[in-house]
């Protein structure tokens, strides 16, 4: 575009010189030969790390059974993180009772497999439906309450589920817990890891579809401002419900996988602390950033089990110098990361990895990609 501002000449001698228009053609960036090779290698490394290493294929590391178990948990946590991301990130409603969402999926799945004698592959969809139904019930309440009050309801709901609902011995086995056997053919931890990974891929794809369709755009609009959204003909109630149901379905899938991963589940493992951990990993990961949420969840799952500290050979430093036992690293470091995230880097991990992500998808390495200025958790109803 040529500048079209006409200033009156100061002296008659001066004339406005007409500059030739400079046309900047925005050519899409294409990486060169070495760029393609580099990106290909990076993709291969990621694929190797995610697909081959946990199964001990083509790998110099000899991962033990418990290590692979931790990796499965990481994949499951990623699913739960994506579920919470739908609620906090897309719908702008905070849930402090997400352990109930996960727990309902877990106990439904265990009940279906152990008491009704059905297959694992049938139990997961049934658990997902249950999760969707309970989330819809809670969502119906949330439509009448503003953000902070709803957070309080989810808190009470989580406590109620933990103490009353999961205490019904006929359904959940009470204190002794309930057995949840793994599917035939996937009994070992190595095999079960790929089941979790497949479900993570499925949930990722569903989440991608959600954000790319009309529903996702509607959610984005109503999160920014429900009144404006409804004036554009978006049914605010229906789409908030959609977000709840989707979140409930994802969480129940995660819970179901968690149940069959642990093989025996007890009600007391679904406590308030777990709910807070879920919020932590999602916010630190970076709300509305799918990759960030997954990385954040994986990070916290690995940190919580002490796996990350061991893998990085930091045990001596953490336990010796700081005097922090490795099981407590997540408990102490995690909340501090959360506070740093919301006060300093609102984009979370997703913001930090955005340049790498852009590069791997074939763009330039842009250091400033993914910068988020505004604080992300936003509920105008609050």
């Amino acid at each position: 575009m040529s500048a079209a501002i006409e200033t009156p000449p100061e002296t008659p001698a001066e004339k406005t010189a007409v500059l030739p228009t400079v046309s900047v053609e925005e050519k899409p960036f294409r990486p060169g030969m070495s760029g393609v090779l580099g990106r290909g290698l990076a993709w291969a490394a990621v694929a190797w790390l995610v697909l081959a290493v946990p199964g001990n294929h083509l790998s110099p590391f000899d991962l033990g059974v418990s290590d692979v178990g931790v990796l499965s948990t990481a994949a499951i946590f990623a699913i739960i993180g994506l579920s919470l991301n739908v609620l906090i990130g897309y719908a702008g409603t905070i849930s402090l009772g997400h352990q109930a969402f996960v727990g309902i999926g877990a106990f439904t799945s265990a009940f279906v497999v152990t008491d009704l004698g059905m297959e694992f592959w049938l139990a997961v969809p049934i658990a997902a439906i249950m999760g969707g139904v309970q989330a819809a019930l809670l969502g119906a309440i949330s439509l009448r309450l503003s953000g902070l009050y709803f957070a309080l309801v989810t808190l009470a709901y989580g406590m109620f589920a933990e103490e009353s609902l999961f205490g019904i011995a006929a359904l959940t086995g009470g204190e002794g817990g309930k057995a949840a056997p793994r599917p035939i053919g996937f009994e070992t931890d190595y095999q079960y890891y790929y089941v979790c990974l497949a479900f993570l891929a499925l949930v990722w794809w569903l989440d991608l579809r959600l954000t790319r369709t009309k529903g996702g755009r509607a959610l984005q609009a109503l999160r920014e401002n429900p009144r404006v959204a409804s004036s554009y003909g978006i049914n605010v109630k229906a789409y908030t419900m959609l977000a709840f149901v989707v979140s409930g379905v994802f969480a129940a899938i995660g819970g179901s996988l968690l149940a069959h991963h642990d093989e025996v589940i007890v009600p007391s493992s679904f406590d308030f602390e777990l709910a807070l951990l879920f919020v932590l990993m999602t916010v630190v990961g970076g709300l509305r950033n799918r990759l960030g949420v997954v990385l954040g969840s994986v990070f916290f799952a690995l940190l919580g089990s002490g796996f990350l500290v061991e893998a990085l050979h930091l045990t001596g430093f953490v336990e010796g110098v700081i005097g922090l036992p490795k099981e407590f690293v997540a408990l102490v470091i995690g909340p501090i990361l959360l506070l740093l995230t919301i006060t300093r880097f609102p984009g979370g991990i997703g913001q930090q990895v955005a340049p790498v992500r852009g590069w791997m998808l074939g763009g330039r390495f842009d250091r400033h990609a993914g910068a988020v200025k505004e604080i992300e958790v936003n509920d105008v109803r609050a």
């Binding site: 906090i88 702008g92 905070i94 402090l96 309440i141 009448r144 309450l145 953000g147 902070l148 009050y149 957070a151 309080l152 309801v153 808190l155 009470a156 709901y157 406590m159 109620f160 933990e162 103490e163 009353s164 609902l165 205490g167 019904i168 011995a169 009470g174 406590d271 308030f272 602390e273 807070l276 919020v279 932590l280 916010v283 922090l324 036992p325 407590f328 408990l331 102490v332 995690g334 909340p335 501090i336 959360l338 506070l339 919301i342 006060t343 604080i375 992300e376 958790v377 936003n378 509920d379 105008v380 609050a382």
Partner: protein, 298 residues
């Protein structure tokens, strides 16, 4: 269900409710100042309790100085929270602030778990041991009576304080911060002061409730002395604004929670949590502006 049973519910409920009322007072104060549901409120109490415990049992201080040290620790935590988390987030949305206070609570819980790793279950001695009376057959300890007495004293003290110049400054800044700045009130100092008082109230709840049972990390948030959710509920009953409402709300929530111990609900698992959840839903759906306020909360 006999009269005795209801009597026990009433007595235990009111005594338990005193702790909730102390927590609720802090929550209401903070809500009026910063407009946030303070999820760290109960953790101020646990931190104070831990500090008092360390001073009394490990350093061998006398009880009074130990409690004072605990309260100071709670106040310090409250002031730090205001400086490091609430102030930087003053322009952020309320839900972000809520996540921030939850982060403060979690940080405190994490540090308590870590420092308390070797002996996870602790016991703080009572101020006065023994049972004072047994109305309807419910044992009322001196500790519980003292808690109730402290609540009454705090309520009166707060009522007097909010009529003093500093108290009026706080109220002015909370109602209209820009106008308060214009007449020379430092909103920043008022915010610090409010958080300090709220943390002091939380600390009182902690050092008074702690000796009733053994305590662990996160005692008042999700441990044995769980008071965060009841405290928040009491604050909701007070419409998040009324201080007398918070006191009465705390006592009401205490009694309602005790209804879960009635023999009629013996078969129901976790009846207390169930009763509280239903009560919260009923209040929020029927009278979201709170029970003890005339106008709708804004």
């Amino acid at each position: 269900m006999t009269i005795d049973e209801l009597g026990i519910v009433l007595v235990t409920g009111v005594l338990q409710g005193s702790v909730y009322a102390l927590v609720a007072l802090g929550i209401v104060l903070v809500y009026r100042a910063s407009g946030v549901f303070n999820f760290a409120q109960a953790e101020f109490g646990t931190t104070g309790l831990f500090a008092a415990f360390v001073a009394v049992e490990i350093w061998g201080w006398s009880y009074g100085w130990g409690v004072l040290f605990g309260l100071l620790a709670a106040v310090a935590m409250g002031l730090l929270t205001e400086r490091l988390v609430i102030h930087p987030l003053r322009d952020a949305s309320k839900v972000t602030l809520l996540v921030g206070t939850a982060g403060v609570a979690l940080t405190a819980v994490g540090i308590q778990f870590w420092q308390n790793n070797e002996v996870p279950i602790r016991q703080m001695p009572k101020i006065v041991e023994g049972v004072a009376a047994t109305p309807f057959g419910a044992a009322v300890t001196y500790q519980q009576l003292i808690t109730f007495g402290v609540l009454c004293a705090v309520a009166v003290a707060l009522a007097v304080f909010f009529r003093s110049p500093s108290g009026l400054a706080i109220q002015a800044a909370q109602q209209e911060s820009t106008a308060a700045e214009l007449v020379g009130i430092s909103v920043r100092r008022v915010s610090m002061m409010t958080w300090g008082i709220a943390a002091l109230l939380g600390g009182l709840a902690g050092v008074l409730a702690g000796p009733n049972t053994t305590f662990t990390a996160g005692f008042l948030t999700f441990g044995a002395g769980r008071a965060l959710l009841p405290g928040l509920m009491a604050a909701v009953l007070a419409g998040m604004r009324s201080m007398p409402g918070a006191v009465i709300g705390g006592l009401v929530v205490g009694v309602v929670e005790q209804l879960g111990t009635l023999s009629a609900l013996e078969q129901v698992h976790g009846a207390k949590a169930l009763v509280l959840f239903v009560f919260l839903l009923a209040v929020l759906l029927l009278r979201p502006q709170g029970l003890f306020v005339r106008r709708a909360a804004t």
